[in-house]
Assembly symmetry: C2
Homo-oligomer: 260 residues x 2
Amino acid sequence: MNNLSIVFIGAGNLGSNLAKALFRRGGNIVQVYSRTEQSAASLAGAVNASYTTSLSEVVSDADLYIVSLKDGPFMQLLPQIVAGKRRDALFVHTAGSVPMNAWKGYVENYGVLYPLQTFSKQREVDFSELTIFLEASSSENLDLLKSLASRLSEHIRFADSEQRRRLHLAAVFACNFSNHMYTLASELVQRSGLPFEVLLPLIDETARKVHVLHPLQSQTGPAVRFDTNVIQAHLDMLKDTPDMQQIYELISKNIHQYHK
Amino acid sequence: MNNLSIVFIGAGNLGSNLAKALFRRGGNIVQVYSRTEQSAASLAGAVNASYTTSLSEVVSDADLYIVSLKDGPFMQLLPQIVAGKRRDALFVHTAGSVPMNAWKGYVENYGVLYPLQTFSKQREVDFSELTIFLEASSSENLDLLKSLASRLSEHIRFADSEQRRRLHLAAVFACNFSNHMYTLASELVQRSGLPFEVLLPLIDETARKVHVLHPLQSQTGPAVRFDTNVIQAHLDMLKDTPDMQQIYELISKNIHQYHK
């Protein structure tokens, strides 16, 4: 891996975290592309690489191109990304929802490297804890991705495109939606004149608990015990915020469905 | 506190955890009441107390009665709970949504001891990490509850009934609803043929992240970046589970509202 020259296409949350983690493990990142100069320059500085904001200036002789773009732009820019590159270069994307075969017909060697995690630029993620899901167009390419990924984490699994898109959907519920529940909770706790931080031990225990109890077993609260007094009182308290009221009602009903 | 004789009315998730935590810190629990013999006997055994399944057999001369019942039964059983007890006994409940004044007119000394946490019988909670919210009918009673609660946690706050009911509502979102998102995620990940455990690092990081970034800042995923390709693909994947599809759509829209 130390010898592979790597280009990052995209310097968003995932791309930035992955590039920095690879750099810290000796990865040789030669160039970063981002449409946004600030993102490109900032990541390039952190991983000791050059940068460009023009796809036509991406170096053509790298060994590995790692593409972390939103799904729409990725599909749109794909012909430009592959144009003029070495025939034996390996191309991977990092998207949960894009099938590996998006590369098919464009390049000979391709694959997917999907680290299952929530990434923000403001926070560096410990890759050693997470699982990296791999898929590749040949067993040689898979071996290459395995050796790359194994520098970052001991937890490496194979997932085909169908598994990966289901996994991505599950991740939206487990991460994005639970985080939005924290957002709504923070708004509610502010209304009580208390700081968001009073909820942290509760948030932590809720997450810790599902390491030892399945979430169906660990569920508590008014919806699972069908405490209609409390549920109705809560719906009344939310009458000025109908969106939140609708979310409360829908999820409570669904919890009850799962537990009755 | 070591001298206070304590009766627990209710041996549910919260009552059981609280009684065990007090017992471990030298609390003198003399009796446990539960409608269910198994619950009463099991908790009584764990805290070296006697038990009863009849409210009329609850001892009348305890110093402190701690009531942990569902809101409905609590209001209904209140007259029986207080009947014949010592005039100077202190009565507290542990419910987020029941105002302290539910006791008013029934007894002279009363209050609320509300540990903000998710409790299951299968898992003992570390009280030292959580915040205990107190309210009492007099400063003397508040001092007594403070000295009791301070055996369990250094994090003790005052919350009046209005703050507490808002806090409880916030907790439903932060804990019960985020846990239900884990449940839905577990169902989805099973459909991909992968174990629920692959989601744990993601769940952990989502919870850890809000210690350093406000949940509004830590949000990631298709809804916040308004990636309509992915959102539509996910809705299509959920067409056979319309409840889950509705939850996906409603929360995604709400995330977008908060971040646009």
